[in-house]
C-alpha cells in the first residue's frame, strides 16, 4: 500500500541525496514515477481517466491545468496557488500546493548545482516583481527563495509594475566598484526591455557574474532570437556567454531545468549548450501521435515527469517541442498553434508592450 508520507520521503531522499553528491539512480526514479502516478491516479479523477500508452504512466496535458483544479488534497488545504501568465482565467494554468517543502528542496538543489555551484552566496539583482507583488507567480516565489538561500544582498529592480532601470544601473555600478560578482535573474522579456531602455549604459560586471533568464515570448511582444539575446546580454553586462543560462520552468512543474554551460565551464568541461535534467525528473520528447518516446535526436513533444509534483500530477505532457542532445534536452519552443503562456507574459503586459 502506497501512502503519501512514504512517497514524500522517497522523493525527498532522492533529491537530497543528489544534493549531497550521490550519483543519480534512474531506475529508482522510474520506479518512483510509476508509484507516484498510480497513487495520483487514484486520488485525482482527471488524471485517473487518462489511458496508458506504452509502458509509462499517462501524462496529463498542461491544458488541463487551465480548466481544472488538479490536486490530491482538498481545496481548504491549499497553502499556495501558482498561476501562469495570461489575460483571462482560462488562459492561466493553476497549480495548487498544500506543502512547498519538495518544491523548495528541488529548486534549491537544482540552482545550487547549475546556477551557484561556485559561490556560497552572491549579490542578486532580480528583474522581476518582489514576491509580495506577485503572490501567484511560481517564478517570483522561487526568486524570493533564491534571495534567502543564495543572496549576499538582493535587489529587486522592479518598482510599481515596471523595471526601474535607474535602480538597476546603481546596483550594477556598485557591484563593478566593489569588484563583486552579481547574478542577474529575470525573464527574457525583462532583459529585452532592459536592453531597449538602457541605451548607452554599458556594464563590465566582475568575473563570475552570471545571468539567468527564463520564459519565452508567448507571441505577445517583440521577439528576439535566442542567440541574439544571448549576445546582447553578454555585450550589455560584460558577462561571458557560458555564464548566461536559460532556466526552463513551468507553472505545472515543481522542478526546473537549467542550461549546462555555467556549471560545465566551472567544472572545466566544454560541451554543447543544453538543458540539464535533474535526476528526479524524466524529460522525454514523444511522438505527437503515439505519445511514445521518439528515437535518438528526433524532435518531439516534451513530456516531463517531475517527482517533486507530489500533490498534483507527476507526469505532464507539455506543448513544447524538444529533442535530446547528449545527456540533456534542447527545448525548441512552444509549437505554433499551441496555447502561449508562461511567466514572461505578465512582465510584458506590465511594461505595456504591444
Amino acid at each position: 500500500m502506497i501512502d503519501r508520507a512514504a512517497l514524500a520521503t522517497r522523493i525527498e531522499t532522492m533529491i537530497a541525496a543528489f544534493g549531497h553528491g550521490e550519483p543519480a539512480d534512474t531506475s529508482a526514479r522510474d520506479a518512483l514515477i510509476d508509484d507516484l502516478a498510480a497513487w495520483q491516479a487514484e486520488r485525482i479523477p482527471e488524471y485517473g481517466r487518462l489511458q496508458r500508452r506504452g509502458q509509462w504512466p499517462p501524462a496529463l496535458p498542461t491544458d488541463v491545468f487551465r480548466f481544472r483544479r488538479i490536486a490530491s488534497h482538498p481545496e481548504e488545504r491549499d497553502i499556495r496557488v501558482f498561476r501562469s501568465s495570461g489575460t483571462t482565467s482560462t488562459d492561466r494554468s493553476v497549480h495548487v500546493y498544500s506543502d512547498l517543502s519538495l518544491y523548495d528542496l528541488a529548486a534549491r538543489v537544482a540552482a545550487r548545482r547549475m546556477l551557484f555551484p561556485d559561490v556560497d552566496s552572491i549579490r542578486l539583482v532580480i528583474l522581476a516583481p518582489p514576491e509580495d507583488e506577485a503572490m501567484d507567480s511560481s517564478l517570483d516565489y522561487m526568486l524570493a527563495r533564491f534571495a534567502e538561500w543564495f543572496g549576499s544582498t538582493s535587489t529587486w529592480v522592479w518598482r510599481d509594475g515596471a523595471l526601474d532601470l535607474d535602480a538597476m544601473t546603481i546596483v550594477l555600478r556598485q557591484a563593478e566598484d566593489a569588484a563583486e560578482p552579481v547574478a542577474l535573474l529575470g525573464t527574457s522579456f525583462a532583459f529585452v526591455h532592459a536592453e531597449d531602455g538602457l541605451g548607452e549604459r554599458w556594464f563590465e560586471l566582475p568575473p563570475r557574474s552570471r545571468v539567468m533568464q527564463t520564459g519565452g515570448y508567448k507571441g505577445r511582444s517583440r521577439e528576439v532570437d535566442a542567440d541574439l539575446l544571448l549576445s546582447s546580454i553578454g555585450a550589455r553586462y560584460g558577462v561571458p556567454a557560458a555564464f548566461i543560462i536559460n532556466e526552463f520552468g513551468a507553472t505545472e512543474l515543481s522542478s526546473q531545468m537549467y542550461e549546462t554551460t555555467l556549471q560545465e565551464t566551472i567544472s572545466g568541461r566544454t560541451r554543447p549548450r543544453r538543458l540539464w535534467v535533474p535526476p528526479w525528473v524524466r524529460a522525454t520528447p514523444v511522438d505527437p501521435d503515439s505519445l511514445l518516446p521518439v528515437e535518438g535526436d528526433t524532435v518531439g513533444l516534451l513530456r516531463i515527469d517531475d517527482c517533486a509534483n507530489l500533490d498534483s500530477v507527476c507526469c505532464i505532457q507539455t506543448a513544447d517541442l524538444a529533442r535530446r542532445l547528449d545527456d540533456g534536452i534542447v527545448v525548441l519552443g512552444r509549437a505554433k498553434g499551441a496555447t502561449p503562456r508562461g511567466c514572461s507574459l505578465a512582465v510584458d503586459q506590465a511594461l505595456g508592450s504591444p
Binding site: 481517466r49 496535458p61 480548466f67 505527437p288 524532435v299 498553434g337 499551441a338
Partner: protein, 383 residues
C-alpha cells in the same frame, strides 16, 4: 482588352472552355499527385480525391445552370476581380476562379505563399483549354502584409474576394476601408445525426458518410465537421456510435485515404485536445484519428487532422441552440436526410446562423452553385 475578349465570348464558349480546363487539370493532377501532396501536406490519395470531387463539379450542365441563375437577376457582371486565396485547402481556388470566369470576369489571383502549385496548374490548364480564358487569369504571389503589392492588387480590380483567417481579413479591411471586398472568413462546420440516422438499417450509411466528411482534406477546411451532434440521451448509444465511427468508418477510410503525417505543431495541439477529451469525457482513438465523447458544451475546438467530437443532444432544437454561439462562422451543417428539413427550418428561424445544410457525406464536396456564407456563390460579382 482581356475583359472585352472574354466577355465577347458566348456563355456557351466559356462553359466549354472551363469544362475542358477542368478535365485537363484533373488529368494533370492524376499524372503527378506526388508534387501536390508535397506542397499541400496531404496524401497522394487525398490529393487525387480532392481534385476529382472538386473538378467534376465543373461540368457543362452545372455551369449552364449557374449562368442562367445569374441572368435571372438582371444584373451585369463586374469588370474585374482580384482574389486573395487562403492556403488551407488547395481546391478552394476552383470555385473562386471558375465562377467569375464563367461570367466573363477576368481575375487576378493572389495565391497563398504556402501553396502556389495548384493555382499554377489551374492557370496552365485554362491556357491550354483556351488562350483567351488562360489570359483572363493572372497569378501573383507575395508575402501577406506587403502593402504596396496588396494595394495594387485590390485597387486594380473592381472588387476583391478575400479568403482567409478572420485576422487576415480584418487587416485587409483596415488597410483598404473603401475597397469593395467580398470576404470569406474563418469558418467551422458541424454534423447532425438524428434518430433515423442511428437506426440499424441506416447506421452503416451514416458512419460511412460521416467518416468521409471527417477524413476529407484531413479535416483542414472550413467545411470539415468539428463536432457531430447525435440525437440521443443514452451514454451507451453515444459510445457505441463513436466506436462504430472509429472501427467501421475512420479506420477503413484511413487505408483508402491516408492521413498525411502530422505536423508537430498540430501534434502538440492534438495531444492537449485528446487529453482534455479524456479528462472531460472519453476518447476513442487510433493511429490517425481521435473521437472525443463529451457534452456539447463547453466546445473545445479540435486541431483538425481527424480529431472530432461527438456530443449528445435531445434533438434538432437543442443542436441548433448549441450551434448559435458560432454565428456566421458556422459555414455548413451536414445532416442525415430525415433531419435536413427540420434542421433547415430551425436554422432559418435563428437570427444568428446562416449556415448551409447539406447531406452527410457531401460536406466537403459542395456543388458548384452551393451557397457560400449563406449567399449565392456569385454574390458580389454582379452589379
Amino acid at each position: 482588352m482581356t475583359v472585352d475578349r472574354l466577355r465577347a465570348a458566348s456563355s456557351e464558349e466559356r462553359i466549354a472552355w472551363l469544362a475542358s480546363a477542368a478535365e485537363l487539370l484533373l488529368r494533370d493532377v492524376n499524372d503527378a499527385p506526388g508534387a501536390l501532396a508535397e506542397s499541400t501536406g496531404l496524401s497522394e490519395a487525398m490529393v487525387a480525391w480532392g481534385a476529382r470531387t472538386t473538378l467534376r463539379t465543373v461540368e457543362r450542365d452545372a455551369l449552364r445552370a449557374l449562368v442562367e441563375e445569374t441572368r435571372m437577376t438582371g444584373s451585369e457582371p463586374i469588370a474585374s476581380l482580384s482574389i486573395v486565396l487562403a492556403g488551407n485547402l488547395f481546391t478552394a481556388s476552383v470555385r473562386a476562379v471558375v465562377v467569375p470566369l464563367l461570367l466573363g470576369i477576368p481575375v487576378t489571383v493572389k495565391a497563398s505563399s504556402r501553396e502556389t502549385r495548384f493555382p499554377t496548374m489551374f492557370r496552365d490548364a485554362l491556357r491550354r483549354a483556351n488562350a483567351e480564358l488562360g489570359n483572363a487569369m493572372e497569378l501573383v504571389t507575395f508575402a501577406g502584409g506587403e502593402v504596396q503589392l496588396e494595394t495594387a492588387l485590390i485597387e486594380g480590380a473592381e472588387a476583391t474576394a478575400v479568403y482567409g483567417s478572420d485576422s487576415t481579413i480584418d487587416a485587409i479591411q483596415r488597410r483598404h476601408p473603401n475597397a469593395r471586398l467580398i470576404v470569406h472568413g474563418h469558418g467551422v462546420s458541424v454534423g447532425y445525426c438524428g434518430p433515423d440516422a442511428l437506426r440499424r438499417e441506416r447506421i452503416s450509411e451514416t458512419i460511412a458518410n460521416l467518416a468521409l466528411d471527417v477524413c476529407a482534406y484531413d479535416q483542414r477546411g472550413c467545411l470539415s465537421p468539428q463536432i457531430i451532434y447525435v440525437a440521443t440521451d443514452s451514454e451507451p448509444v453515444l459510445s457505441a456510435f463513436a466506436e462504430r465511427l472509429a472501427k467501421e468508418g475512420l479506420e477503413p477510410l484511413a487505408r483508402e485515404l491516408p492521413r498525411a503525417p502530422l505536423p508537430l505543431e498540430v501534434g502538440a495541439a492534438q495531444a492537449q485536445w485528446r487529453g482534455m477529451a479524456e479528462v472531460e469525457g472519453s476518447l476513442v482513438s487510433g493511429d490517425t484519428y481521435g473521437i472525443a465523447i463529451r457534452p456539447a458544451q463547453p466546445v473545445r475546438w479540435s486541431p483538425g487532422y481527424r480529431n472530432v467530437t461527438v456530443a449528445p443532444v435531445r434533438g434538432v432544437a437543442e443542436a441548433v441552440r448549441a450551434m448559435e454561439p458560432l454565428g456566421s462562422s458556422l459555414k455548413c451543417v451536414g445532416a442525415d436526410p430525415m433531419s435536413s428539413a427540420s434542421l433547415c427550418a430551425e436554422i432559418g428561424r435563428s437570427n444568428a446562423l446562416s449556415a448551409h445544410v447539406c447531406s452527410l457525406g457531401t460536406m466537403q464536396t459542395p456543388a458548384l452553385d452551393a451557397p457560400a456564407d449563406g449567399k449565392p456563390v456569385w454574390h458580389g460579382l454582379l452589379r
